[in-house]
């Protein structure tokens, strides 16, 4: 079994949530808030969802879309915000612009902007991610597989979401290590192709473990 040039160090994280004091009672206020709040709030409401929820805690996997559909009862806006795949954006500023553009366009087609009647306002929150380096280090595919099965789900989040979106490591840390350190571009590509937007962290973990099991079986079956 081949050894990586550098070990993979698993890093977990904990999310501290900061309430920004901004709240929205309709789509116009949501647009204003989106324009004003730190970009960390966009991250929290779109990507932080995966860290907080094992299950879909609303109709959609982003807070803006769920709020529009459930609390504001504007299902069209909810659907339009939900269909946007956050993992297709190169940075958070572009994602924020796209969200604002969708809301702005929606508002131009509304004769009357609906206000909240019974629902909860939208509260803008930003997250501070505290990184936690673990003891787990992997040099081989088998070690990597073993640790991935044991770590806290926040570690999956850190390497698959935080690394890609906030830290600019576009492939994600798992794929990058598989490609650059372990020399397995085939496996790296399969990990990169996992559609994060529709999966919980546990499902993401299960998918990667499945890919690793196949790769390990192949390695075992290959004569030396």
């Amino acid at each position: 079994m081949s050894e990586a040039r550098a070990p993979f160090v698993f890093v977990g994280c904990h999310e501290l949530r900061e309430n920004l004091g901004w709240r929205a009672h309709d789509a116009r206020e949501l647009l204003d808030g989106l324009e004003q709040v730190p970009v960390g709030a966009v991250f929290h409401h779109v990507y932080g969802y995966f860290l907080r929820h094992r299950f879909y805690a609303g109709p959609y996997a982003n807070d803006f879309a769920s709020w529009a559909a459930v609390q504001l009862r504007d299902r069209v806006l909810g659907e339009r915000l939900a269909v946007l795949d956050p993992f297709e954006f190169a940075d958070l500023a572009l994602l924020r612009e796209e969200l604002m553009s969708i809301i702005d366009d929606h508002l131009t087609h509304l004769p009357v902007v609906p206000r909240l009647v019974y629902g909860e306002p939208f509260y803008f929150v930003q997250s501070h991610i505290v990184e936690i380096a673990t003891d787990q280090r992997a040099r081989t595919l088998a070690e990597f597989r073993q640790h991935l099965g044991e770590i806290d789900a926040s570690t999956v989040y850190y390497h698959m979401v935080e690394a890609r979106v906030r830290l600019g490591r576009r492939s994600g840390d798992f794929a990058e290590w598989l490609r650059a350190s372990l020399g397995r571009p085939d496996l790296a590509e399969q990990v990169e192709r996992i559609d994060l937007y529709f999966l919980s962290l546990e499902r993401v973990r299960a998918r990667i473990l499945g890919l690793l099991d196949v790769a390990l079986d192949d390695e075992a079956a290959t004569p030396r």
């Binding site: 977990g12 904990h14 999310e15 501290l16 949530r17 900061e18 309430n19 004091g21 709240r23 907080r52 929820h53 094992r54 299950f55 879909y56 805690a57 019974y118 909860e120 306002p121 509260y123 929150v125 501070h128 505290v130 936690i132 380096a133 673990t134 003891d135 044991e150 770590i151 806290d152 789900a153 926040s154 570690t155």
Partner: protein, 399 residues
């Protein structure tokens, strides 16, 4: 004494390891909790459960309690109620006495730490007596969404002098010029209230409480007042009762601190005298095992509150694998994921409908109960709360 390692069996996979690594970064730092009492409510329960665990993790964690005379506690209780929007007569003299008692407490207590967490309004004015060094955070366990204006104007000046505040929900926080962090309350899965019980223990406790187990039990836990709406729960039960032979158990410690506690208690008692399938239990606050057993014996748990501070009875029941039908308000709406772990409802009829739906589809009860336990494991256990405080200590005292 319970140690952090004891939580490996119940916490999410890998969570205890992360706590241990996070604790290494703040080992030796001093975290001081200050509250008004040693018992009762989140302000006392949090330090009671977490201080020994934080000490076990190498943090110099301590807990101080402010003292005061009867007038101090009367004034601070009124302040506490007024800040939650209730009408109270609070005189200038009462406020002066409140400040004076906290000044005396500040002289007696060692109010020093890398992080000093002051819980709730009662000791809030201690910030006036802060000494150099360390960060001070005000932890608010109540809903400050619509306080009495005059009292909030008085109290806001103290809060604004803290380095940060912590609220249970964004909707509980007023406008403030300091950072506001959000931390959900938590339950301790190893405490008497939540620890595993055998079937025979559950049966024995229910026998002693006089609760027959010959039919499905719908349970609501909580004091009796308009906010928790036990009368609404009885009316929902009546809708269910037309189709399902169930028993409703209302377990509380008598009249609550919300509005109309005595009227609600009288109505609940009266309903129980008219229907033998309504059981009203008025239990002392220390009846933790009894509540645990009732939650385990229940088929479905109801928490039909119309206003909620962040009642953890929901998470407790979910931890025991029960679906919860609860009022879509406050912390209940955060704890329940509708259609997944139970149902958040807005009316007596809504609760009745969902209870019938669950009783008619018992496979839903099992599926939602399992999902409920996993949701709590990840979001509402004390291990997550420990991580919150360790992360806050790391974040605020980094430099």
């Amino acid at each position: 004494m319970i140690k952090i390692e004891d939580y490996r069996e119940v916490a999410p996979r890998g969570a205890v390891d992360l706590i241990l690594r996070l604790a290494e970064r703040v080992r030796g730092r001093r975290l001081l909790h200050v509250s008004a009492t040693r018992y009762g409510g989140g302000a006392a329960e949090l330090p009671q459960r977490t201080v020994p665990l934080l000490s076990d993790l190498g943090v110099e964690a301590e807990w101080e309690v402010v003292g005061g005379d009867a007038d101090f506690f009367a004034a601070s209780k009124a302040l506490y109620a007024a800040l939650q929007g209730e009408d109270r007569v609070i005189t200038e003299e009462m406020l002066r006495h409140y400040l004076e008692m906290n000044r005396l407490s500040a002289q007696k207590l060692r109010l020093e730490g890398d992080l000093v967490v002051v819980h709730d309004p009662q000791p809030g004015s201690l910030i006036e007596h802060r000494r150099a060094g360390g960060k001070w955070v005000w932890r608010c366990h109540i809903d400050l969404g619509s306080p009495q204006r005059r009292i909030w104007n008085f109290f806001r000046g103290f809060v604004a002098r803290y380095d940060a505040a912590i609220f249970s929900l964004p909707g509980f926080a007023p406008r403030l010029p300091i950072p506001q962090y959000i931390m959900y309350p938590s339950i301790d899965p190893l405490a008497d209230r939540n620890r595993e019980l055998s079937r025979s223990e559950v049966r024995g406790i229910l026998d002693r409480l006089g609760v027959p187990q010959d039919k499905p039990i719908l349970l609501q836990v909580g004091q009796f007042d308009r906010h928790r709406d036990p009368v609404g729960t009885i009316n929902s039960y009546r809708i269910v009762k037309r189709h399902h032979d169930v028993r409703l158990v209302l377990a509380g410690s008598g009249p609550g601190d919300g509005p109309d506690g005595h009227e609600a208690t009288a109505e609940v008692r009266d309903a129980a005298t008219r229907d033998r399938d309504i059981v009203v239990l008025e239990l002392p606050p220390e009846a933790q095992l009894q509540i645990n057993a009732l939650q385990r014996a229940a088929t479905i748990v109801v928490q039909k509150s119309v206003r909620d501070r962040f009642g953890l009875e929901v998470a407790e029941a979910m931890w025991k694998g029960k679906p919860v039908v609860g009022g879509a308000t406050g912390g209940i709406a955060v704890q329940i994921i509708s259609d997944v772990t139970g149902y958040a409802v807005d009316s007596v009829e809504g609760a009745g409908f969902r209870l019938r739906q669950l009783l008619t589809n018992p496979e839903l009860i099992a599926r939602m109960g399992g999902a409920a336990r996993e949701h709590v494991r990840r979001n509402f256990l004390i291990t997550r709360h420990l991580s919150d405080y360790l992360a806050l200590l790391t974040h605020l005292t980094a430099a």
